[in-house]
């Protein structure tokens, strides 16, 4: 289970049109990048968590992912405070307070942004996502490529685990107990079989797709259709208004 698997459900978020979700994601991303006020970002973060609750997505499923993010944020904050000049310093000329605050703000912004993504990906079946992209004017070949890539990541995670288990069974303990440098040295034994396997898989998948007329025409039909409902339009308008208000609050005050 990861942040990119589809998590089945029948919530309001699940039922929204994929186009609405994709547009929301773009609008929210841009807005968050423009924001600089801590409280406004916090408001976004809280509303994001609320959406998670509405969608019924379990937070504990992404624990590992959040842990990884946390280390990234610590790194970001430390680097920012090291290199961003300010007026207040922790040591003489080192670790500026302004830099640390900037780093924290940046991290918070990123966290908020990243928390929005699973809301789209985890609540939309991959074929609907592709359909949404196509209906928004993307060529179906590119839409398929993008969504297939998403689809295949869990397979890679499984395969990585299989390779690691196979290595463990033959006594390789580097990935658990080894020093950092040893881990680096051992990585090719993991990455090489993974990449070769992936290439072989991609080639076979290409044969399978070609054999079923992929790319035969400029257009293709979809057996499942999507259409904008009233709730979709209301949701979209609401989100646009909220983003507008957020930007106004951020810059007017």
């Amino acid at each position: 289970m990861s942040v990119i698997d589809y998590y089945p459900g029948d919530s309001l978020v699940h039922r929204l049109d994929p186009r609405v979700k994709l547009i929301t994601l773009i609008v929210v991303t841009v807005t968050i990048f423009l924001l600089s006020n801590f409280f406004v970002i916090a408001a976004f973060f809280l509303s994001c968590l609320m959406c998670w609750h509405i969608a019924g997505l379990p937070l504990n499923k992404v624990k590992g992912f959040l842990k990884f993010l946390l280390s990234l944020f610590v790194f970001l904050t430390v680097v920012q405070s090291l290199f961003l000049p300010g007026e207040h310093y922790l040591f003489k000329g080192f670790f500026s307070l302004e830099g640390a605050i900037f780093g924290l703000l940046l991290s918070f912004r990123l966290l908020t942004l990243i928390c929005f993504m699973p809301l789209v990906i985890m609540t939309t079946p991959i074929n609907k996502l592709a359909l949404g992209l196509v209906k928004m004017g993307m060529s179906y070949k590119i839409a398929y490529m993008a969504t297939t890539a998403l689809n295949i990541i869990p397979t890679f995670q499984d395969e990585t685990k299989v390779i690691m288990d196979a290595q463990k069974m033959r006594g390789l303990t580097v990935f658990e107990k080894g020093k950092l440098i040893e881990k680096f040295k051992a990585y090719p034994t993991l990455v090489v079989p993974l990449v070769i396997g992936a290439m072989r898989r991609a080639q076979l998948m290409g044969v399978a797709m070609d054999s079923r007329a992929f790319g035969a025409g400029k257009t293709k039909t979809f057996i499942e259709d999507i259409s904008l409902q009233n709730v979709d339009i209301v949701a979209l308008v609401l989100i646009l208004i909220l983003c507008g208000i957020a930007l106004w609050v951020n810059f007017a005050w």
Binding site: Y6, P125, I126, N127, T148, N151, R201, L204, M205, G206, V207, A208, M209, D210, S211, R212, A213, F214, G215, A216, G217, T219, K220, T221, F222, I223, D225
Partner: protein, 287 residues
Amino acid sequence: MAETIIKVDNVSYRYPRTKKWVLKELNLEIKEGEFIAVMGENGAGKTTFCQCINGVIPHSQQGKLKGVITVAGLNTLQTPISKLSQIVGMVLEDPETQLFTTKVKEEVAFGPENLSMPVPEILERIRWALKVVRLEQYAERHPTALSGGQKQRLAIAAAIAMKPKILVLDEPTSQLDPIGTEEVFSVIRELKDEYGMTVVIATHKSEEIAKFADRVLVLKDGQIQAFDIPQLIFRNTKLMKDNWIRPPQVSELATLLEEKGQLLKGFPILPEEAIQLLTKWYEEGEA
């Protein structure tokens, strides 16, 4: 006599950046409605041969192709795969990689969707194809939730949803247990008997070949070793040894008896035949 549907005329093929010819001057004809088994050790050119029939070679797989392959009157060199895919359905060896959608229904719909068929027609085809492979009740499932045999049957459904005349299967049961193998072969049999589909199947399973195949093509190093009815193929001890083919167990028994100077009145390839012949042989011995 039925019409020729696949004609292979002096065909040689070599993969890109290699010097070795994997297929060497193949010449053969397959009639409409025939069930052809392709045998031979690994690396004999079975997969390459299969991919030549549906146009993956030379259209998606580069390399050098000499000679002419005609499928239902169309030259594969000049016909795009999208057109060929409506004549030749393809099932690959690995049950996993050839399924790439998130729903059984979507998997079957993929081909017809690409051909921009109207939706009601596609739904009709999904219903039909899933019924033929007996997977109707799994239409809404995720393909990864199926067993190996079910996955291969789904791959067959996805291929026949294009309503092809020919079904090419490249070792479809090599990764399956006996039950899965049985399921897959019974579906293929039905396609041949009820829908008159021409079947070309690369496989090592002699028992199943004995039961279903009209003719057996034996390849070695890209050349035809033999192309004949199963009785004659499995009887040819030297051919079996040279190509590492294990004949059906009853045929092995007959060959052993023959070596011991005990001649049966005929050569069995099926258990039922063997029972008959052995009973007769035993009774005559008694008398």
